[in-house]
Subunit: 208 residues, 2 copies
DNA sequence: TACAATTAGTTAATTAATTGACAAACAATT
DNA sequence: AATTGTTTGTCAATTAATTAACTAATTGTA
């Protein structure tokens, strides 16, 4: 099924398929052809078929794809089959905003928040207490944390990431404006650069 | 200088160049070769030279690039030459977090926040009052707003975007989990899908 | 049941993106 | 001043990604 090497371009399109299929499912659409999907999602029908066939033949000639089945298949491919335990490091504005975001509905459970600032430690966000960083190692191990969401200051980020890797975290979702580098290539790092996105927008704004 | 058609792949790398060059500038590095830049930024030297030559010959054989000049050139290309006026629509957790983010330092000035919820209207975030949506049209026109940052609920997003386009906004930075579609192709739309990023991370987590 | 229409999966063709190679320009050194 | 080493800009080669074309399976209909 999952064959050798799927390109990054394909992988980054999968969440979009997942999103659109979920919407269709909610709207009671239970069958879709690559052509119809193309019309709403904006990729060519050919690309959609190519993308999906990286993972298996989920469709049926003359029929198309069953929306629910395809949604579940892609969910499986994306690893949305278990609940992942997450923590947030840095409970400032962004950290708190992300704590309030409903990632839980996608299977990402917030198990803890950490900060060095005594002004926020002890506070609770959605039933999760903000704890001191001293407790980080212990909690990662005890609560079997998979993903750490880094919302610290730029300066603290790399050092926090190094610690997290040492404590055995499996993945890091980084919101600070640095590209975190982890020597241990078992640790997955996903950098979200909001500024990069804004500057891209700015580029096109200038072009007009 | 700016020639015909620069590919999206190149454009999306520009902010990263900008980020790294800024860091070098702060560290007192005033000269860099494509090879050295390659080592820190992770693109090949050849790609760096190709990318930059889409916009002009900023380097010098035998020398490399002057960091400050290149930083400024890329800033110019990205449109970071004027201050853009921005507003945030939807003053929930994410909206408030973004209001506290220092985009201002990059030339994006927050000129207003809007919400329909009377529990938040009237509050002030960093000297910016959260106003009722009724005032949206007037403020966009009076304050010459360039960019609207949408942080509403998913359901409100498209309708808000349609209004914004009608009121003459130039660009939309969208944080809701839908792909906003604006008929007027003069309006630039940049969708930030946090969930897509998280699901990509989840994909790689599962692969291990 | 036969037949026309639909549509996935797959291979081939095309286009786009990246990498490699090299001449020309300049810097640094002796 | 001459020479060696460095490094860009650019063109060519290669690799990757996308699109098109086609076959075979299935649906829907007469």
């Amino acid at each position: 099924m999952t064959n050798n090497k799927v390109s990054m371009a394909v992988i980054r399109r999968l969440p979009k398929y997942h999103r659109y299929l979920k919407e269709m499912l909610e709207n009671g659409i239970n069958r879709i052809s690559s052509k119809e999907l193309s019309d709403v999602i904006g990729f060519t029908a050919s690309q959609i078929r190519q993308d999906l066939n990286n993972f298996g033949g989920f469709g049926q000639q003359g029929y198309g794809y069953n929306v629910e089945d395809l949604y579940n298949e892609i969910g499986q491919i994306l690893g949305l089959v278990k609940t992942y335990n997450t923590i947030i490091i840095g409970a400032g504005n962004l950290g708190q905003a992300l704590a309030n975001y409903n990632f839980a509905s996608h299977g990402f459970k917030l198990e803890g928040m950490f900060d060095i600032n005594p002004k926020v430690t002890g506070l609770r966000i959605r039933d999760v207490e903000i704890k001191d960083m001293d407790l980080l190692e212990e909690e990662i191990k005890n609560k079997n944390i998979d993903i750490a969401i880094i919302c610290t200051s730029r300066d603290a980020a790399q050092s926090v990431a190094d610690d997290l890797a040492k404590y055995g975290i499996k993945a890091i979702w980084n919101f600070t404006p640095v590209d975190l580098k982890i020597n241990n290539h078992e640790v997955i790092v996903e950098n979200v650069h909001l500024i990069d996105s804004l500057l891209t927008l700015s580029y096109f704004l200038k072009e007009k």
